[in-house]
């Protein structure tokens, strides 16, 4: 049986739904030795800011049960260096490269969107309104519907013909209200979810395991939370949703599609083994054939409730 793994995302042909999540796949190039980047449905690169960012002090990562905490603090080389040194080396003609945007206020976000939207090699803009690791602004955008909406609008205005994805935080009472606001503001798609805020301490040294004290929880541990968020958002808005959170197998990918996601991103699982995203992309059509799923479009949101 030959199956159809393609999915429709605004303004972007996608051959399969297996993308990689921002901050967990470097600039893509780091993982090229472990698989063919062109086999992926998309690559979301590490969060970019206008100027390079140093990031948080060490230690920045800690392992937790079935998961990990990070407080990288948006260390990145800045948008200029990305466009000059990284993007040209990525197979952007074959695989959509999605830029993940980070900024401290709406103006900066808009400016960043302006720069990135002018690039042929950038397929979409993913707006990180939810990073818990940056003190200035950071999470506030993602926790207030009004601000999320304004931000989506500001980015959309400068995004030209590039689709705008808004990436939602799970650290909210009502993710649906943020999702609605982002779509009203102009988001073409929503990415669900960013990390949960968490903490880890060392009882011997009496110190937090992250210099930043609080960090973002990711990995299989959070999959049930991500799945719930995706399902709730898919019930409420018609914009496509890209599911992310704890996905570590082709089975997990189908779970997210079953509850309504159009595509997914592999995050922390890339650390489990660097060929993880490639393996999942390869396994997906086999699994679909085994389960008698002809196309993802048909399977999507077919949850029996």
């Amino acid at each position: 049986m030959s199956v159809d793994t393609s999915v429709r995302l605004p303004g972007m042909p996608v051959k399969n739904p297996v993308m990689t999540a921002s901050g967990t796949f470097g600039y893509g190039l780091e993982f090229a030795p472990y698989g063919d980047l062109r086999a992926l449905g998309g690559i979301v690169v590490k969060g970019l800011s206008l100027a390079p960012r140093l990031g948080n002090p060490m230690p920045r990562i800690a392992e937790t049960p079935c998961g990990m905490l990070n407080a990288i603090g948006l260390q990145n080389c800045g948008v200029e260096k990305f466009l000059r040194d990284k993007l040209p080396r990525l197979p952007w003609r074959e695989t959509p490269i999605i830029a993940n945007l980070y900024a401290c206020d709406a103006d900066e976000f808009a400016e960043l969107a302006g720069v990135l939207s002018a690039q042929e090699g950038v397929a979409a803009l993913e707006v990180n309104i939810s990073c818990p690791n940056v003190k200035a602004g950071g999470i506030a955008f993602g926790q207030d519907p009004a601000m999320a909406g304004k931000l989506a609008e500001a980015v959309k205005k400068r995004a030209g013909d590039k689709p705008v994805w808004v990436k939602l935080s799970p650290n909210v009472t009502d993710i649906v209200s943020i999702a609605r606001a982002a779509v009203l503001g102009g988001a073409d798609a929503l990415t669900c979810i960013n990390t949960l805020t968490g903490m880890s301490v060392d009882i011997r040294s009496r110190k937090p395991r992250l210099a930043n004290v609080i960090g973002g929880l990711s990995g299989p541990a959070i999959k049930p939370v991500a799945l719930r968020a995706v399902w709730q958002v898919c019930q409420a808005v018609s914009a496509p949703v890209i599911g992310v959170g704890g996905i570590a197998s082709a089975e997990d990918v189908l779970e997210f599609i079953l509850v309504g996601a159009h595509a997914v991103q592999i995050g922390t699982a890339n650390f489990m083994r660097p060929d993880m995203a490639f393996r999942i992309a390869q396994r997906l059509p086999e699994l679909m054939a085994e389960l008698g799923i002809n196309s993802l479009e048909e399977y999507r949101m077919s949850l029996l409730v």
Partner: protein, 265 residues
């Protein structure tokens, strides 16, 4: 960089406890069959993920290449937590995924008198270093350890290298004497090459002494790593310019003057 291009699913050939019978010293040699990882520079490492990790722990574990031949990859592992416990309880035939060699290894200058400074399990990469060195007579080893000497591959190395000295730290009072020894050695090799691997405080002492005596020295860091391939930015160290560099790709071996070594990692 000598990336192999893929994750290799290997099988355990043997797991052997080192050291005096009956002791619980937690030092093991792990041999993996037919690694197919090409060749390595001593100081490079591999990421290791036993199949039985499942989804917990999420991270693979980094280990120095202790010895790499076409027939076997040997790791020298000291148990210190969940992951190493699991690894050292594997039995022949068990499946382990491995990728590497990763990162930057030690400089190897055949003609230069070279001092290897190793602390505990930090001896691991120097087994490969000595084995691949064209003139091991030019190598000297100073090895600080806590467990009985037979827990470590010291005797084998002593047979190969020009000079080898071991210093057992039995109590905190021994530390100043060990540092004195290091001081004398670093002074002696100030005109040569110094390569060091061991716990962070040990490396900070080496770096301090190297700066003091103007010695050319490299240290191998063991920062926490999630991915090992440059993808997570979790393993960084501050370089001399105040920027964070990945220890998995730009290290784990650095020239001491490249870094601002601080207490935290």
């Amino acid at each position: 960089m000598a990336l192999s291009g893929a994750c290799r699913d290997l099988t355990i050939l043997s797991v052997t406890e080192a050291g005096p019978e009956g002791g619980a010293h937690g030092c093991y040699y792990i041999e993996l069959a037919n690694p197919g990882l090409g060749s390595a520079v001593a100081g490079q490492f591999v990421m290791v993920r036993p199949a039985c990790f499942g989804q917990d722990p999420v991270w693979p574990r980094p280990f120095s290449i202790c010895r790499l031949t076409p027939e076997a990859l040997t790791l020298f592992v000291q148990t210190c937590g969940r992951g190493t416990d699991v690894l050292c309880r594997l039995v022949p035939g068990d499946a382990v995924t491995v990728w590497g060699p990763l990162g930057q290894g030690f400089s190897l200058e055949p003609e230069t008198p070279t001092l290897m400074l190793a602390g505990g399990v930090g001896l691991a990469p120097f087994v490969e270093y000595a084995a691949t060195h064209p003139a091991p007579a030019n190598l000297a080893l100073v090895f600080g350890h806590r467990q009985p000497l037979s827990c470590y591959p010291f005797a084998e190395m002593a047979n190969v290298v020009g000079r080898a000295e071991a210093f057992q730290e039995n109590s905190p009072e021994d530390l100043p004497r060990f540092i004195e020894l290091l001081e004398a050695k670093v002074a002696e090799y100030a005109g040569g090459l110094i390569v060091a691997c061991g716990p962070r405080p040990f490396l900070m002492t080496v770096a301090r002494l190297a700066r003091r005596f103007g010695a050319r020295a490299q240290v191998s860091l063991e920062n926490r790593m999630a991915c090992g391939v440059g993808g997570c930015l979790g393993c960084v160290e501050k370089n001399a310019l105040g920027q964070y560099v990945q220890t998995c790709t730009q290290g784990p071996v650095f020239w001491v003057e490249e870094l601002q070594l601080s207490e935290e990692a």
